[in-house]
Amino acid sequence: MQGPLIDTLVRQGIGRRTFLKYCATLASMMALPPAAGRAMADALAAARRPSVIWLPFQECTGCTESMTRSHSPTIEGMIFDMISLDYHETLMAAAGQQAEEALHAAMKENSGKYLLIVDGSIPLGIDGAYSCIAGRTNVDLLKEAAAGAAAIVAMGTCAAFGGIPKAKPNPTGAVAVSDIVKDKPIVNVPGCPPIPVVMTGVLAHYLTFGSLPELDDKLRPTAFYGETIHDRCYRRPFYDQGKFAKTFDDEGARKGWCLFELGCKGPVTHNACATTKWNGGTSWPVESGHGCLGCSEPDFWDAGGFYKALSMPADPLKMGAAAAVAGAAAGVAVSFANRGKKRAAQVTHETTTLADLEK
């Protein structure tokens, strides 16, 4: 399966027209100028398959599932198949020694050129011993693989931000890729799991322009993470009208009203679900009637309850009773002091001046 990508695609029955359409869509999704679609098509078609090494750490394989099974067969899936995936524990046939050999061969042959994809967080607790592959810790493997990588893609929220393993109390001391690797370009593609087209978008951009796409302050491609779910949500008009579903099966829910009150984290979540949707554009969480969990944001697991509205605080009156008692005590104490002062003033026949009234 060597040779340019277009040959392989043709063999799979993908015509020129379909391929151009796909590239144009991809370019417009990434808010690139129309000419970029053409450039992308040229570059992608001619591209030799880039060597990709995929390292899984503390993860659940959900990111891989998202990429490979989302809605196959699609061009996305095929392009993903077409990259030279030299190491991926879940997908590769090799195991044990063979797998390790493949990894090291790929790293050596393509040193400085391969794309490193990481999914899962990296545990630092007890010297990284919580997660080891072939007897070596994740942090050790990451540092070695990162040294020869052209760029690193942190796939999924765990690799990008620590994700669920980092949730309080973070027993394994999990951290994100960007906490360990500082000297390589990193793209975070958060999501639990991330959207497949974001992955191919980043790959296509890399192959076409030889650089990574524009990133935001959390190293996410702005083309996909530039706006919040809430900004692009088709239920947004109901929010603006103040029409909210109160429970998951009331009339408002049936009419498709806003899920804000049911805990939707759309207003603070940057992702492209509302526009790209899932399963080949079939639907997405909010469309299926459930609020956004905020899975593409750092520490979404600890950001309040999934079913608590964003405007609702955790437990604000926890201190209320104690504060009222303390306030009453302070008030009584101060008023006794005031009365004492008044009595003393009366006894000594103190006069009131204008300055006193100014106090």
């Binding site: 959390k218 919040t228 809430h230 900004d231 929010y239 603006d240 009208q241 103040g242 909210f244 804000f260 009150e261 207003p267 603070v268 905020g294 944001e297 750092p298 520490d299 979404f300 600890d302 950001a303 309040g304 509205a309 964003l310 405007s311 609702m312 605080p313 955790a314 437990d315 604000p316 009156l317 926890k318 201190m319 209320g320 104690a322 504060a323 009222a324 303390a326 306030g327 009453a328 302070a330 008030g331 009584v332 101060v334 008023s335 005031n338 009365r339």
Partner: protein, 219 residues
């Protein structure tokens, strides 16, 4: 600490602390003020139509004759921003949700677009009142640090809230966090500044009206 962490803190521990200080401060100040007391007036009470605590509470809610013309900005601006604040705080859907979560009480909200308009009007009125305070020599002379400070802590929550809803300047998450933090600042300073008038306003009017009614003077 990123924006979502800041927001989580502001909604969680931050709000706990702010509400705690607020409740503590309000209870303290009210007990302190009302326990000051007043010497009993031993003179026989006089009667005069319109002289009572309740009369004064109501009468002082409208401008005295002639005052509206001589100081229109204070009265109109004052009315506009006070009513605006009340509408925004109590009739904006997310605020009602917060109150429902705290107390279990809820009521219908006004449309968000309407609240948006009210917010702009309130902001403008507050700026006009501030400019008037700066421009009028008498007002400026009477103003202390407390006046400028309380204006700022009242203005900030309205401004940040409006900017959060309108997605201006900063990302929504950060703006919402700043909005909640500014409200927390307001809650913390309210009991210990002139803003305590939110609680003492009617009490002090009643007090003044009651004392003068005893003397037969409608104030």
């Amino acid at each position: 600490m990123d924006a979502l962490e800041l927001l989580t803190w502001a909604r969680g521990p931050g709000l706990n602390i702010a509400l705690g200080i607020f409740v503590l401060g309000v209870v303290w100040r009210l007990i302190e003020i009302y326990s000051l007391g007043r010497r009993t007036d031993l003179a026989p009470a006089r009667q005069h139509a319109g002289a009572s605590g309740l009369h004064t509470v109501l009468r002082r809610s409208v401008p005295p004759p002639g005052m509206l013309r001589s100081s229109p900005v204070s009265y109109i601006g004052g009315f506009v921003f006070h009513i605006g604040l009340a509408l925004i705080v109590f009739l904006f859907a997310p605020h009602i949700l917060l109150i429902r979560d705290l107390t279990g009480l809820s009521w219908p909200a006004l449309p968000s677009q309407f609240i948006d308009m009210v917010t702009v009007v309130t902001l403008v009125a507050m700026v006009v009142v501030l400019v008037d305070r700066i421009n009028k020599p008498a007002k400026r002379f009477l103003s202390t640090f407390g006046d400028w400070f309380t204006w700022a802590v009242t203005f900030l929550p309205v401004l940040t809230g409006w900017m959060a809803v309108q997605h201006l300047l900063l990302p929504y998450t950060l703006m919402l966090a700043l909005h909640i933090l500014s409200v927390e600042l307001l809650l913390v300073v309210l009991p210990f500044t002139k803003l305590i008038h939110a609680f003492t306003l009617f009490g002090s009017r009643w007090y003044a009206g009651r004392i003068n009614a005893h003397k037969g003077v409608p104030v």
